[in-house]
């Protein structure tokens, strides 16, 4: 087990190894999850307190953008919270109802109206916990619109920080519709989401109800009265000054408005989490603006507000009527664990009295936060817990809501300490829930980590791996490096281009990366040769490094069930054939491979995603308990490779 020398909050404050979490919080300020009520529903939020001895009399509620933008923006929003804490400003970033780790929402609800009230409830909660008199709202994209609409309920003169806010709901919906249309290109999936309410729209795996779309069509901030705010900091993307005209209008209406068009928006909200970048100029501009705001009100001793933690309810009880199997309510329990308490996760607990001791541990997909792609981990965790499983959705250290260890690269998808974190998760479910049967589940890099855990001999019963794109990762590699998956995927494309006159023209003109193509061409035959050599070595009893076939056979020999699930066009399928070679034939049914048609890498369409969830549930329940299970849809193909 490696022993990191220190852990580091993403805000960049370092603390030493061996410190308790309480000591860490003394250095960087308290930072912990909370649950709070919003109109009878339970919301999840993250409280970040200031490290200083004095608390500003200003708090900050952070309103996320919608859908995929929120997943991408996760780290950046933490950076804004850290910047606020450094100025003595406590913050609360909330998950709106039906998003993130909050309770589910009625699929017919007008999300704009519900979420606007959620923002107001968060402001009230922040006041209650800290005693601050003024609450500032920071909103990104749709969160900016919600924050603006919520000012009326948040008290007079609520300061606003708006980042590329949605000004016209109609235009926003149109942008989402374009995204959706483009995402459906070349896919044979129904535009209608199974189980969704009529007239709703699913975009990148996240759904807006018909009522929401109708409400958005009516919202245009330019035609409304000025919000109840004393001052506004409005930051647009540098190349997308969508709110410039409204900012001008606010100024003319007498609202003190600071407007900037700054770089960093695309890197913050439209770039996959593993590559997303914190918009440093925006954070710096926010700091300057907030410092002025804070200096206008006297600071006061913060004794007392820290106690709000012990008084907080750190559990959420979920009514189970929204799940597949109705019954007793479920409980969700957030916790930090691991030897340095750096790893964060949320456990969904089955009903009290559940006697089957089974657990699923869910791993990050890429650098997505623990809610999983499209929030799928939350949905599955609640479904599976309602059927008796303890389900932990966790963030590896350095990802999502976990802490980063000193020396660890920022936002690292394949950290060296992943095994330690998974070992700690296993220990947690065993010690706390007396679980004997543990399944590791992961998509993409999460699948890789699940495989590595089983190969390393961690005591798991089953590994559920969805769309792995690599089976080995060597220290020093970077995501931008040539991936073996690309070698598998691209030769046919390059072969076609060899016959193209245009391609030759580009080659001559130097517009083609010859070295990269050569690398791809050279790697492919090497893979085939390597596969044959590994088969021969296995046959001769010789152990080689990076032998996936041998690893799978050894995992199987320990009684671990192996399940791969792939979208039809995933390069990981061919890679599995090449790297595992003859072992796949020997393993037969003991290494299950399931293929799903018309799915993309992250199952962003609800139809294929529902199929995936059925398959995963079948593997968990039908295969372990011999309970009969409904037949799978026709589109699902079950096939063995080899």
């Amino acid at each position: 087990m490696s022993s990191p020398s220190s852990i580091q909050h993403p805000g960049a404050v370092k603390v030493q190894a061996g410190m308790s979490r309480e000591t860490v919080e003394g250095e960087i300020g308290p930072s912990f999850p909370i649950y709070f009520d919003s109109n009878g529903h339970t919301l999840f939020g993250w409280f970040q307190g200031p490290p200083a001895a004095f608390l500003a009399d200003v708090g900050l509620v952070i309103c996320k953008p919608f859908g995929y933008e929120a997943i991408c923006a996760h780290r950046s929003l933490r950076a804004f919270a850290d910047a606020a804490a450094a100025l003595g400003v406590p913050s609360l970033r909330l998950d709106y109802l039906g998003t993130g780790d909050s309770a589910p929402i009625d699929l017919e609800a007008d999300q704009v109206e519900v979420w606007r009230r959620d923002v107001a409830a968060a402001a009230a909660e922040l006041r209650r916990r800290t005693g601050v008199r003024r609450v500032c709202l920071l909103g990104v994209r749709l969160g900016g619109l919600l924050a603006t609409l919520a000012t009326d309920e948040c008290g007079e003169s609520t300061p606003l920080v708006l980042i590329a806010p949605v000004v016209s709901g109609r235009r926003y919906v149109r942008d989402l519709r374009t995204t959706r249309l483009a995402a459906l290109m070349g896919m044979n999936v129904s535009p209608e989401s199974p189980g969704a309410s009529s007239g709703s729209m699913e975009v990148s795996g996240f759904t807006l109800s018909a009522a929401t779309l109708a409400a958005l069509a009516q919202v245009d901030l330019k035609t409304r009265a000025a919000p109840a705010t004393s001052s506004v900091l409005l930051m647009d993307g540098k190349n997308m000054p969508g709110a410039a005209a409204w900012a001008q209008q606010l100024s003319e209406l007498g609202v003190r408005t600071t407007y900037s068009a700054l770089p960093g928006l695309i890197g913050m909200i439209m770039t996959p989490p593993q590559s997303a970048a914190i918009p440093l100029e925006m954070v710096a501009t926010f700091e300057t603006w907030l410092r002025d705001l804070v200096s206008a009100v006297p600071a006061r001793p913060n004794a007392g507000y820290m106690q709000s933690r012990s008084a907080a309810s750190e559990l959420m009880t979920l009514r189970s009527d929204g799940f597949a199997h109705r019954g007793d309510p479920l409980t969700e329990r957030p916790m930090f664990f691991g030897h340095d308490s750096a790893v964060f996760g949320i456990v969904t607990e089955p009903r009290p009295g559940e006697i089957r001791r089974r657990a699923v541990i869910m791993l990050n997909a890429g650098a997505d936060v623990h809610v999983g792609v499209n929030g799928m981990n939350v949905t599955l965790a609640r479904q599976w817990a309602s059927r008796g499983y303890v389900v932990l959705r966790m963030d590896l250290a350095g990802l999502g809501d976990s802490l980063k260890r000193s020396g660890q690269a920022d936002n690292e998808v394949f950290p060296e300490t992943a095994l330690d974190d998974m070992r700690a998760a296993l220990q947690l479910v065993r010690d706390r829930y007396a679980v004997a049967d543990v399944t590791l589940f992961g998509l993409c890099s999460g699948a890789y980590h699940a495989l590595r855990a089983a190969a390393a001999g961690l005591a798991v019963s089953r590994i559920l791996m969805v769309n792995p794109q690599n089976y080995f990762w060597k220290t020093g590699m970077h995501l931008d490096d040539l991936q073996v998956a690309e070698v598998v995927r691209n030769p046919a494309v390059y072969r076609q281009r060899l016959t193209s006159r245009a391609a030759w023209k580009r080659l001559i003109s130097g517009k083609v990366d010859i070295a990269r193509i050569a690398k791809i061409y050279m790697a492919r035959p090497l893979l085939a040769v390597g596969s044959a050599l590994r088969d021969a070595a296995r046959w001769g009893g010789v152990r080689l490094r990076y032998d996936l076939g041998r690893e799978l056979e050894e995992i199987d020999a320990r009684g671990v069930k192996i399940v791969f699930v792939f979208a039809r066009d995933e390069p990981g399928i061919d890679l599995l054939k090449i790297e595992a070679g003859s072992s796949l034939r020997r393993l037969g049914e003991r290494c299950r491979v399931r293929i799903i048609d018309d799915a993309d890498h992250v199952f962003s369409h609800s139809g294929p995603r529902a199929t995936l969830q059925d398959i995963l549930s079948e593997e968990l329940f039908a295969r372990s308990t011999a309970i009969s299970f409904a037949p799978l849809p026709n589109k699902v193909e079950k096939e063995l490779l080899g």
Binding site: D175, A182, G186, M240, T271
Partner: protein
């Protein structure tokens, strides 16, 4: 600057911003093979509305996203505006 030139410029600009490798654009280039993703196309369409003053996807009709770059350009060139 022609409509086509404007569109090409936006494809190139968004590819740079999104750190994506843009394929060579010809009329036959399939948008799926262009190197851009759905979010990139949404950005392009939004920017083209600002640049050209029209959005062919802003309709209640059941519009489908074009398959090739040529179809995409034609959608803008033939739009009544």
């Amino acid at each position: 600057m022609t409509v086509r030139d404007t569109i090409v410029a936006q494809f190139e600009q968004v590819a740079v911003e999104q750190r994506r490798k843009l394929a060579r654009l010809s009329d036959e280039t399939k948008l799926l093979d262009s190197g851009l993703d759905s979010l990139s196309f949404a950005l392009i369409v939004a920017r083209l509305e600002d640049a050209l003053g029209l959005d062919p996807f802003d309709t209640t009709d059941d519009v489908k996203f074009p398959t090739t770059f040529g179809d995409f350009v034609q959608l803008y060139e033939k739009h009544p505006g």
